[in-house]
Symmetry: C2
Subunit: 429 residues, 2 copies
Amino acid sequence: MNIGIGFLGFGHIGSGVWGVLNANADTIAHKEGTTFTLRRALVRDLRKPRAAALPDGVLTDRFEDILGDPGISVVAEFMGGVDPACGYIEALLRAGKSVVTANKEVIAQRWHRLETAAREGGAGLYYEASVGGGIPVIRTITDSLQANDIDSVMGIINGTTNHILTRMSEQGRSYDAALREAQEDGLAEPDPRNDVEGFDAAYKLSILSSLAFHARVPVDRVYREGITRMTPEVIRYGQELGYAVKLLAIGKKRGTSIEARVHPTFIPENHPLASVRGAYNAVFLHGNAVGNLMLYGRGAGDLPTASAIVSDCIVAAKAKDHRYNSFRNEARPAPEVAFDGNWQTKYFLNLEVIDRPGVLAAIAGILARRQVSVASLIQKGYGTATVPLIFVTHQTYEQSMLQAVREIESLPDIIEIKALIRVEDEDSA
Amino acid sequence: MNIGIGFLGFGHIGSGVWGVLNANADTIAHKEGTTFTLRRALVRDLRKPRAAALPDGVLTDRFEDILGDPGISVVAEFMGGVDPACGYIEALLRAGKSVVTANKEVIAQRWHRLETAAREGGAGLYYEASVGGGIPVIRTITDSLQANDIDSVMGIINGTTNHILTRMSEQGRSYDAALREAQEDGLAEPDPRNDVEGFDAAYKLSILSSLAFHARVPVDRVYREGITRMTPEVIRYGQELGYAVKLLAIGKKRGTSIEARVHPTFIPENHPLASVRGAYNAVFLHGNAVGNLMLYGRGAGDLPTASAIVSDCIVAAKAKDHRYNSFRNEARPAPEVAFDGNWQTKYFLNLEVIDRPGVLAAIAGILARRQVSVASLIQKGYGTATVPLIFVTHQTYEQSMLQAVREIESLPDIIEIKALIRVEDEDSA
């Protein structure tokens, strides 16, 4: 079986896919009985130098050359961003060509529109590479965990922030220094906001939790907080308490109530996610039959991403019926789903206070009035004018905690709220 | 779509599958549009009390009631062992009924025969639950890593031995005490040989490496060494060197040469597999596109196993074409594959020697003559009549090392070879 494919874009990822298709052609033919012919690759500038050479006549700057080619049955998209990718993908699907994409933004934001086009065109829409790079987390949820009610997903799904936090945790680097090093190593963009502010992780969590909970979780329902305010000092305090810090993407479901949030999180240092270092990604989930399950691997990079994309191309080409999401994939979430912004978790609160009698009593009083129960309290230092206080709470409500922190902040002896970090340490292993 | 299913056996796993089919019926119907009707369950003794109650008339002691029921399209087998399971499975496949099994022994030993029956009967043979319980490692290899040349798999695929080694490592228990505790907790069989001697892991490695390397790896080509000679003392020496001990199932492929081995292994304590504790399982593999990938979860237990079995039942019922292994699935391995019993790895060698001048020179001389290069040497203790010596080698050949150890053993001042443990510490993260 020969599969005629087209590319939308031919940059870093596209070159990786082209490389895997060539280097592993014998392996793929042997295992799957399929060969690939790249018929057309759409680029903006035909004269721009490319990392990999394509056969003559493959590069084109006209989308119609792909849309109108009856020999192309599967198109892989690497353009990124919503426009013009969305319009191209939609037109291809409506023309009956299956589309494979690594574009989390277009899936998270235009899923309903694209899936409608796929159904109506009788084509398939595949996006394994949109979350976790080479880690087959989407296919695991859809094709291996069908018999489970999944009630929790926790992911390290942004390699850039994990790399920065690993450097800060292991080498005591400041956030700025770790970011600069990541930029120098090509692991962070010159404008890093999409990663460090958690936007990238929020898109991915929207996709991941929609599939896991079988209910549309729009990206605007994902709470998002980045890593820009993390300090090595706060990380060290956490380490002293047995915690590692990760930018976690967390989705939880209780009945028809769903919470989805991306924020720096302390987890126990012996949690399987704690040992996910550097640019690695991992997704830890819980299903009511399978129990705890973790998938770990390279969440980015041309070759890992190509592994997922080529796998999707093979599945798309061979599928007799394409899989569509049977959940209510509306642009708006289903009315029966409640999004819970008042989740319960534990909190690490680091304050700088004037070391004066009564300050602790005032803070404790506020926490008590807000029903926040303190699990541990540590005062660092002694005899200086101001001292750091660290509270770790028991399970409490997000809104109670935020309210308590606002009230604490207005106390006269509080110099600064240095950190409020959520703690996930339910039993996991 | 209603799927009529049959069970072969109705013990621990069968009850778990029945439980998941009932508890998660709405979830499965919602996600997959399928419902299940259990039509018949074959048991040996109709009067034996069962953990779960089945509807009247479902239990039968006649295999023909399942084979001859046209309403049954998928049969799940939980009998275990080769006979009579193999004959039943073969007859069902030839009758066009797909079979889902957790039986690693029958797959490892009769794969060729069963797959031939499946092809000829137009039925599907599914065995996700045979390796790694609820961890979808088989489907990941076949359906998500098609585009990869996989050159290495390393698995903790026996929960019993991992539980025992975890207890010995963390609590300093002797092998006998840890085994007894595991038996008391129901985590080891009264006759534990199948687990502790590595037979169970060898069956699973045969399946896993056949799929990963796309070439039949018969179980009799798997080198096998159990954990019965491990001691807390040797584990402690390893820990001092930064190693954790695991019963690893290792498969490696270089060109057409394959090695497959199950043995206690020291791995660096920061390797992702090192944090797999207790009865958890994990498979760590390397593909030339995806890079390192690890899957972690519950490798046994009724519910995790049921998660994999019910998933396979859904896939089997919905498949338009069943997947067969396109590798040469002969009873004998393909002639072009060489099985390498002379692999290269590093070694930890623990000797008890008489503390006399010249003994070290004699050992070093033997190692040098056998081309075994020493990376580190530690002498524990001093001034006693006998002292422990620990060598860690650089990468060397298995057969050279074994020959060297035989020669060292015959030296006059050697009291005992206390341990020879293979060390896997190639770069992994």
